[in-house]
Subunit: 392 residues, 2 copies
């Protein structure tokens, strides 16, 4: 196990009716005027907007609104939010939604106290040292941004979908997790969310670091929970047990409790961000295509043992002790089948992507740079091979 610092001071209020604590929690963490960040009608339809604003009202906390955040959230909305925050004197960001609303709120949060262009901080030109406090009311179990130290924004100019260098200062002060808010999610979005959280774990699971038995087992615990709960939530969207397990799994998948003390990979995310930038596809859907291809590539180029472990401990395969590679391949096959069973795309064309775009996609990545990947190093040639392994 490597040295690490783990500092995750987010207060999680989980369960039915916890949104009634919004006003009290904003106040507890120093907010006196709120910028409320959300997408659109779904924040109201899911049942979150009304009790959240009622709670602010009851606590005597005024707010202004920034709505219209889109999936794969854009820098334009962040600039708009920074300006609005400054003009209105808002000192607390409150997101209602999933990763898009939360990441927009986070970026506004560290953008407001910075004099220059917030994109400097996304691009890592300067470290993110402070932020206005951020709170969240989660309505989609997926991105894990409600507890994470990260944030991903797309810059329209150049079509750059980039994550910030991870830093604890962007972690939300509090996150309200009421699984009932996710019961109105359509099956496809539920599936995308389940895939997203599984991949947050897998990016940590595939590591070259030795002696990480505890975090390996924690990863497997979260993965098995998603395997169990996601099909139940899709079969019965109102299954609160499944929704609750998925919601907490999504948070643990990305608050780094599964990833401390180990080199992490993140190559699949880097590749998927390019697909999202090109095709504006759902992040979870893009990952369902990329990850089995990345696994195929990695298994072709590394020792099969970690993949065999994944196959046995997560996907329920029987271990072939004489040919662990067979077990490893079977694990990847089952994972792809699982994604397919959830209704996710598993090839480029199912995602709406084209093999003929591959060279341009790889070229576009050069802006952010190569190589990447902590388990297998990925340069342009490897990225191209992985995209071809996605299948047409």
């Amino acid at each position: 196990m490597n040295s690490f610092t783990f500092y995750a001071p987010t207060l999680f209020a989980f369960g039915e009716g916890e949104e009634q604590r919004t006003g009290e929690l904003v106040r507890r963490f120093g907010g006196t005027k709120v910028l409320l960040v959300y997408g659109g009608a779904s924040a109201k339809r899911c049942g979150a907007y009304d009790p959240v604003t009622a709670s602010l009202k009851e606590a005597g906390i005024p707010w202004v609104e920034l709505s219209g955040v889109q999936p794969n959230p854009r820098s334009g909305k962040v600039y708009e939010g920074i300006e609005l925050c400054r003009k209105e004197g808002a000192d607390f960001l409150l997101a209602i939604g999933g990763g898009s609303a939360i990441d927009t709120a986070k970026a506004i949060g560290f953008g407001v106290p910075y004099d220059g262009d917030f994109w400097d901080l996304v691009a890592g030109k300067l470290p993110i040292e402070k932020s206005l406090p951020v709170g969240t009311v989660l309505t989609i179990a997926a991105a894990g941004s409600e507890g994470s130290d990260s944030c991903v924004i797309t810059k329209e100019e150049g079509n750059l979908k980039w994550g910030i260098p991870r830093v604890d200062v962007v972690r939300p002060k509090f996150s309200i997790l009421n699984p009932a808010f996710t019961c109105s999610l359509p099956p496809f979005q539920t599936a995308c969310g389940a895939c997203d959280m599984m991949i947050h774990v897998l990016e940590r699971y595939f590591t070259p670091t030795a002696d990480v038995g505890l975090t390996d087992r924690l990863c497997e615990a979260v993965l098995k929970t998603v395997l169990d709960a996601a099909p139940r939530a899709i079969a019965d969207p109102a299954d609160l047990s499944a929704r609750g397990e998925l919601m907490w799994a999504g948070t643990l998948a990305h608050n780094n409790s599964c990833g401390v003390g180990r080199v992490q990979d993140w190559a699949s995310h880097q590749i998927e961000h390019e697909l999202s930038a090109f095709y504006d596809c759902a992040h979870g859907a893009g990952l369902a295509v990329v990850v089995p291809a990345w696994m195929t590539f990695a298994l072709n180029n590394t020792d099969p043992i970690r993949f065999a472990r994944f196959a046995v401990n997560v996907m329920g395969c029987e271990m072939d002790y004489e040919r662990p590679d067979r077990t490893a391949w079977e694990g990847i096959r089952r994972l792809r089948e699982f994604f397919r069973s959830l209704g996710l795309p598993v090839t480029l064309s199912e995602l709406g992507a084209k093999a003929s775009d591959i060279p341009a996609i790889v070229e576009h990545r050069k802006e952010k740079g190569f190589p990447f990947g902590g388990y297998v190093e990925i340069g342009p040639r490897e990225m191209e091979e992985i995209l071809r392994l996605c299948g047409e």
Copy 2:
């Protein structure tokens, strides 16, 4: 899964040399003068004292010392610390040690800002609402107090070993976890620590709450890690891989990440606290005797399925689908054998306790009150039966 609030804002600095950050961390969390709390020579022998005080010196942070904290820490030392803190104007508690030093520091921390007798707060007469900040440098992987919301103190008058009502305000601001500091621990203390952390998980694992698949799996992950790492640490005390796994497992076992959203039991702890109060035995050793007896009692009086799950998923038993109770019994047998293999006592006499004291032990518990236990309700009659099941 039940509603819950999870707020664990402790910064963990894990790894070799992290103690060199002590001064910086004390300052970050507002300390300007430290009360250094520890036991005795072992804080120096294990290698922690010198670099920690060097780091304070380098950061220009003065300190005063309170040493002589004993296992099963006493209220006398807490009163002494409260007085010393006030007299010297110390505004930060820094513990070097395990649960005893940390719990003493915690109690001083909430005792100082309270005008009356700190025992009022332990006994729950008033809620604990504030505390001086506490930091820890861990030298024994066991109690989990370095990340927990709890604290156990023994009051000499009446011989009361009581835990406070759990509350987030007592969680340390930071904890430094350098596994190398635990390499000088004798095998018996290593074993007691391993048992203590396993039981912190088991007290959460045995629950009447339904739909807790994720936290069940997290519990199993921590338990399996201890089963794997403890024998390695005892066989080779300098095995840093095993020491590191144990150290982080001990923290996760008790920061409540394994226990959110579920009713917990804690009956074995209540019973063991009486044994510690009577015989001043090591907490982990007392638990090794009590827990298999509690499990025997609980299995005799409840559905065997959860015990069978424990037997299969943790102790590696084969499931007997026709007779799950057989699997359940085998799991308890293996757990007791595991404790024995670590060199722990598994009967009252091995602990130095006497069956003839049982009525007096049960009587003494009446001061704190009955019933207790979240999985099976324990009154005086049940407590007596469990103590008899410990075996002479």
